[in-house]
């Protein structure tokens, strides 16, 4: 569970160090005020992670002692990635993606996945032919 939050953070951190340091406006930063704290260029200004809010956005419930436990761990990961901030990128063209191999595309040819029974068997609550979920009416 906690690892999921970490994953989200690592992805962010990774991109922000490579691309967002340019003068190009990235709306991404504006819309994610929490994450922004970790995206600033100078390492020294990194704020401690707001773990309760991170947990909330990832739909994870954490007990107060877990929050205390995770905070330094997350901080560690951020600092680890934070080393990238030291790289001088002034003369580097910002990349929008990390890899450069180019397109990996698929032809529009249908293939039916054969083992559907196994997929359905994994569904926690299934009532032929629908997946049963708790009643949710509003998206946000």
């Amino acid at each position: 569970m906690g690892s999921r939050a970490l994953l989200v953070l690592t992805n962010f951190k990774f991109k922000s160090s490579s691309a967002y340091s340019s003068s190009k406006p990235f709306y991404l930063i504006k819309s994610s005020p929490t994450i922004r704290k970790f995206s600033t260029k100078t390492r020294s200004s990194l704020q401690p992670p707001d773990v309760p809010r991170l947990a909330e956005t990832a739909r994870i419930s954490l007990a107060p002692n877990e929050v205390e436990e995770f905070a330094p761990k997350i901080r560690q990961v951020i600092d680890w990635f934070g080393q990238l901030q030291a790289v001088d990128l002034d003369s580097v063209e910002p990349a929008i993606r990390a890899d450069t191999e180019g397109d990996n595309l698929r032809e529009d040819v249908p293939e039916t996945f054969e083992n559907k029974e196994a997929l359905i068997a994994y569904v926690p609550s299934y009532e032929e032919p629908y997946i049963k979920v708790p009643k949710v009416l509003n998206k946000e």
Binding site: V8, Y27, S31, P110
Partner: protein
Amino acid sequence: MASTLFRTIQIHPFLLYPTAICRRRNGVLYCTMKSTQTQTATQEKQQPPKVKVSQHTRSKTLEKITRDYEAIIGIETHVQLLTLTKAFCSCPYNYGCQPNTSICPICMGLPGALPVLNSKVIEFAVKLGLALNCKLSLNSKFDRKQYFYPDLPKGYQISQFDIPIATGGYIDLDLPLEFGGGHRKFGITRVHMEEDAGKLLHSGNGDYSQVDLNRAGVPLLEIVSEPDMRTGIEAAEYAAELQRVVRYLGVSNGNMQEGSLRCDVNVSIRPVGQSEFGTKVEIKNLNSFSSINRAIDFEIARQVSLHSQGHGDQIVQETRLWEEGAQKTVTMRKKEGLADYRYFPEPDLPEVILTQEYVDGIHNSLPELPEMKRRRYEKMGLSMQDVLFLANDVNVAEYFDATISRGADFKLAANWIMGDIAAYMKNEKLSIKEIKLMPEELVELIASIKSGTISGKIGKEILFELLAKGGTVKGLIEEKDLVQIVDPVEIAKMVDKVLSENPKQLEQYRGGKTKLQGFFAGQVMRISKGKANPGLLNKILLEKLNVKS
């Protein structure tokens, strides 16, 4: 003919619930927009007595709106693509197939499953981007948009955020004549690729919901307009033009009833002269062009009424639902700040790279688009009514083009298609692709009438025969011996016969009752089995009738 179509439709709104009409409309008519629009037009203009009360208050509000207020309307449209497979996996997608059958680990969001982009999605996005006069991003990427909802198994939607594939375009359209006509150009902010979510059904009584993941991962293009529209009609026409464009391009079936084309509309108002925008309200659940039109006009009236009574603060940023039955918008949810989607670049997908060569190739293969067709038809000298009718449906336009490319007279071909052929298709509930009359036979028919081989009346009979059974004009003329009689001697013989058989009428005619000419002409036509050339017949008849006077 177009007006006949309209006349039949206008009855519906007052007999049935509007929802029912919406559902029927598409099945019965092959030209959605035209009919939808006209239905609204009828409601507003042609049949005021039946909706007198609401009409009166409404027109009063509308008057006030146009005088004191300006409405600002922007539209987000989701178009479902006509690909055989989903966006990121090879699952086939067919509308209406058994729930949860077209699924795999990728579209179910199972751990470890990796998306691979369908090349057709890029092709269609480039097509639509070019058709909407956009600038294409040769390098773009996918992003994850996080939200938690059971119809989205991964917990995020793969979409495009800060670098959409196409930006900064525009769309041209012509307003229908019933709304005063006129040309409009509306800005397109962006077009981006994304995946659809599954379908969520809320059971009536139970405390649970049901999910069908067939639609999860189906490719969509989201088209965001500039806030350039000012009225419900403009917005509905914008949506209709988008539908035409995606159908012409073949990237989507554009069917609103199936949800292949979905419009979310943003409406705000401001007093005339004010430069800043008012609070915008989003309207959802618009599943026909006429509901877009009516929902917007309702919403404008609601906001103006609040504002003009000093309750402008009661216009809040929210999502409202259009209730077709009640013909009003109601609050669905209030927005408390922007949702935090925590976008970030999709790590499982590479950058989307387009080469200029690829783009140029698609550009060169684009079909003639609705706007170009309309302008071409207009230049040919067709009336705007004809132009809008013919260009509305890509299949009708292609049929028309097929006839004129074989040399048929433009106006005559247009008249036949919009008249008897359209009426036949409507009665038989057929599309133009399903009728048995081939374009080349329509050309032959028009030519045969023009050259005098057959009369117009017989032409019509042949037309209906060909529509129903197929075959060729030449074959039918021969088989039924329908060639027009143009030999004056032969016609003169028939005239003589009729005159000698009706001495009493002849006497009356010569006594001054000249109206009887019609009677004689009818008799001659009857014994010629309709084949006598009418001009020649009348000429000879008149000569013979007046010979002694």
